[in-house]
Symmetry: C2
DNA sequence: CCCATAACTAAACGATTGTTTAGCTATTTT
DNA sequence: AAAATAGCTAAACAATCGTTTAGTTATGGG
């Protein structure tokens, strides 16, 4: 052991995450990452191996933050109402400086090609499946639901979430609230 | 006048459009465009000025093709039913080799940053507004609708279309059909 | 206190990006 | 047929991409 790192890896990866969130993967260069993370290229490479590595850790960082807003959904007694709250929290999560940037995960899914890094693709798939699973579990708490309907509704809501994330890059907040209301009428 | 062009601009721009559709803007290089369009870099620049210029024309080309599936919607007597058909046609438009690539327009909207080319941003906005307008016009054909409801529903459907386009990159066709069915229950 | 070691700085790497230029070829017009 | 003009090929442009390497600085354990 010799010299200690002058930066905290969790802190710098959060900064990287926000940069990727704002700019996407391709548009974000190592030069921009250096500046935003506040450390040298060498430090980035020694900590994360590659640009892909930084991105992968950024996804995990974002996931961790988004998982926090899933917690109330796990404890809800009213499935649909809990889902509705989740959608609002999801929008709120992208508030302020990040509104109009959508969701890092869906942005990544939209940007990445089929020849993209398999590890990243796997991470995105895993994350989507996790959320959809939580939706299904929440819906099971509704009374008198047959299992087939639950699966279909879970599909519907996860796609709606994707849509909401994508649309939030283009539409106004009021339109999104309107959209959420429409999703949950007669559900 | 001297030598004639050995290529048709409309034909090569359609090839470029399909390449952008598959790969997005950033990932598509001039080298790839040369190969796909079947003409030299010089020819591309003399015809379209820049990579941005090629992309802009590609968007217009895509728009023209997508507008064709709006025609039935204009003549429909049943607004909601017409809209539903439009959604299925929209999915079908992205069929075969392009399924899983979403919609060129929404992909572009997701990828482009706020510092992107203003002309492209304007084109995307114009296109979105046009479609939303057609949705509102179709909804007016429903009986006993108050104008406020129509506007809200038009917002809802245009966001749904964005969502569908984005989600089609990730989800299976059967899930999308399921999603469309859910959109139109109780509308 | 000194040496080993790890983190730092900064320069350079080859490859690829979008774009331009020079020179050759073909066709239209007078 | 000759001159003019526009499209073609192919090489080169500067800039930037992600990545690596050499050299310096600072801090750990013996």
């Amino acid at each position: 052991m010799a010299r200690k790192k002058e930066y905290n890896e969790d802190e710098v990866i959060e900064k990287a995450m926000r940069l990727f969130w704002r700019n996407g993967y391709e548009t974000t260069s190592m030069q921009m990452l250096e500046k935003e993370m506040g450390i040298n290229k060498f430090s980035i490479y020694s900590s994360f191996g590659s640009k892909n590595g930084v991105f992968l850790e950024s996804i995990k960082c974002y996931k961790k933050k988004l998982n926090d807003i899933l917690i109330p959904l796990k404890n809800t007694t009213n499935g649909v109402e809990g889902l509705k709250q989740y959608f609002y929290d999801f929008i709120a999560f992208s508030k302020d400086e990040h509104f109009g940037k959508g969701c890092l995960i869906t942005n990544a899914a939209n940007e990445l090609q089929e020849d993209a890094d398999p590890e990243i693709k796997a991470e995105l798939r895993k994350f989507t499946a996790e959320i959809r699973n939580q939706f299904a579990l929440a819906l099971q708490k509704e009374k008198n639901q047959d299992p087939n309907t639950i699966e279909k509704k879970a599909d519907y809501f996860i796609i709606s979430m994707f849509g909401l994330a994508s649309a939030s890059r283009v539409f106004q907040k009021s339109q999104l609230d309107n959209y959420i209301e429409n999703i949950f009428t007669n559900s």
